[in-house]
Amino acid sequence: MAPFYQFGFFGEETGLSFAFVIGIGFGYFLERAGFGSSTKLAAQFYGRDLTVFKVMFTAIITAMLGLFWLAWMGILDLSRISVLPTYFVPQLVGGLIFGIGFVMGGYCPGTCAVASVTGKMDGWVHLVGMMVGILTFGELYPVLDIFYNSSAMGELSLDTLLGIPYGTAVFLLVVLALAGFYLAETIERRLAPMKPGS
């Protein structure tokens, strides 16, 4: 019965060891997908290369369908899956700051780590900037505390938010993702730079 950690198949130390191995694997596949390049990552904001969008949406629907069907088979207890609570306004502001940083630097937190270990200087600059940002936030937390914890909405999920059955939410999200992929490829074809001689 999963989650294995929650059911005591292994302790915290072993769980962290697994997290380390999974993290290395995650970084490896990010790098192989070309996510160690700020040029490729930033290209999504100009519509030239929407790989990030496609990879992220693929990950979302794969995980979502996996969780749904594993729970249906009785292998996974969904009530033990941790859901991060929603703080609407602070997360909206945080998302904007994240987006600005992504456009300016060309990396997100995970991909800047990938770029750093492959020796890219801009990745290191981004990583150091991120650490400084974390430190600054930590120091300013007593001032930001009230805002940080404002507009708390609890552990939201799409089905409860929209008042629709879980299976319907899964279906709608998959249809949305597939439509998104089709649209992304159409945009890429239209906005891709012309190849010499074409």
Binding site: F7, W69, A71, Y166, G167, V170, L178, F181
Partner: protein, 177 residues
């Protein structure tokens, strides 16, 4: 779309269509109970911890020990075992609990704690114990100096824990559990 991607998209769509038919996998949650194992634990009283043992555990500060008070909030504010946190039984079964935590449940006498123990056992939690004899046993040992005295919250009503052994009041059936 390229052909392998197209096949993956078809598989995802089929899985989503079937999800539409199934709707809620949570309703199919299965609970497997090793009844013989639970019966053995209950019979051998492995699910119990005495007041003296709990006092030692608190003194030694064993990792991830959580003492849970299952009485009502007023009773908790008046007095409770040091470090105890209060939760109702419905809250307890909904709480995310780490399997690496050791939980010690107590109520006034022990019935509610035993019922909560069984509910957690059904959920698969194994590191859960109940205080043998409940809070009454702790107070008895506290009077004899074997267990630390009960605590009260600063914002409590100022009611002190009974200095002497007290008898259960038959009209307060819920609190005597």
């Amino acid at each position: 779309m390229k052909s392998p991607v197209k096949y993956l998209a078809i598989v995802a769509l089929l899985a989503a269509l079937l999800a539409l038919l199934v709707q809620n996998p949570k309703e199919r949650r299965r609970v497997s109970l090793a009844l013989a194992e639970l019966a053995r634990i209950i019979e051998s009283e492995e699910d119990h911890v005495t007041a003296d043992e709990l006092a030692s555990m608190l003194k030694e500060g064993i990792g991830r020990l959580r003492v849970i008070d299952l009485r009502d909030s007023l009773s908790y504010l008046q007095y409770h075992i040091p470090t105890a946190e209060r939760h109702s039984i419905p809250e307890l079964v909904e709480m995310p609990l780490r399997t690496t935590d050791t939980l010690v449940l107590y109520s006034e006498g022990g019935v509610h704690a035993a019922q909560a123990w069984m509910l957690l056992a059904v959920q698969g939690h194994r590191n859960v114990m109940t205080l043998k004899g409940g809070l009454l046993a702790w107070m008895e040992r506290s009077e004899q100096g074997s267990a630390p005295p009960l605590r009260s919250r600063p914002d409590s009503t100022g009611v002190k824990p009974p200095a002497r052994k007290f008898e259960r009041k038959p009209e307060k059936t819920r609190e005597t559990c």
